[in-house]
Symmetry: C2
Subunit: 77 residues, 2 copies
């Protein structure tokens, strides 16, 4: 079974990478994009013994910096 963990910056945390990408999108001539936020994604291949609580613990200890980031995860068949 596959688990996808999405990590994104909390609201209010400055995102220089997102700003740079936004700037580059405008530089390429695209209009209509008002904001860009950059985040990370992790795909874990897990067996059935891995519980949601374990995934929470992995995310909080290892994948996300809980001071400035939020995470969510989804299980994929």
């Amino acid at each position: 079974m596959k688990v996808r963990v999405f990590v994104s910056l909390k609201n209010g945390v400055l995102d220089p990478q997102g700003r740079a990408i936004h700037h580059a999108i405008e530089g390429l001539g695209f209009s209509g994009v008002s904001d860009v936020r950059a985040g990370r994604m992790f795909e874990l291949e897990v067996d059935d013994s891995v519980t949601d609580a374990m995934i929470d613990e992995m995310a909080q200890k290892l994948l996300a910096n809980m001071v400035i980031e939020n995470y969510r995860f989804e299980r994929v068949a």
Copy 2:
């Protein structure tokens, strides 16, 4: 409207970041995780004039390295 773009390494491309995370997960004592792949996520705030074709172009020119990465995107209400 929000668009999420997910960028991940193509199959067969070595992923040292994912390997390091996998190693760290095992080091923390978790079992049942057989593989970890690291990727990136971008959240774009766009207006209705931004078409799927434009998002494809942004992803291919700017967000993903098409030599080693794939991307997909979804629109969120």
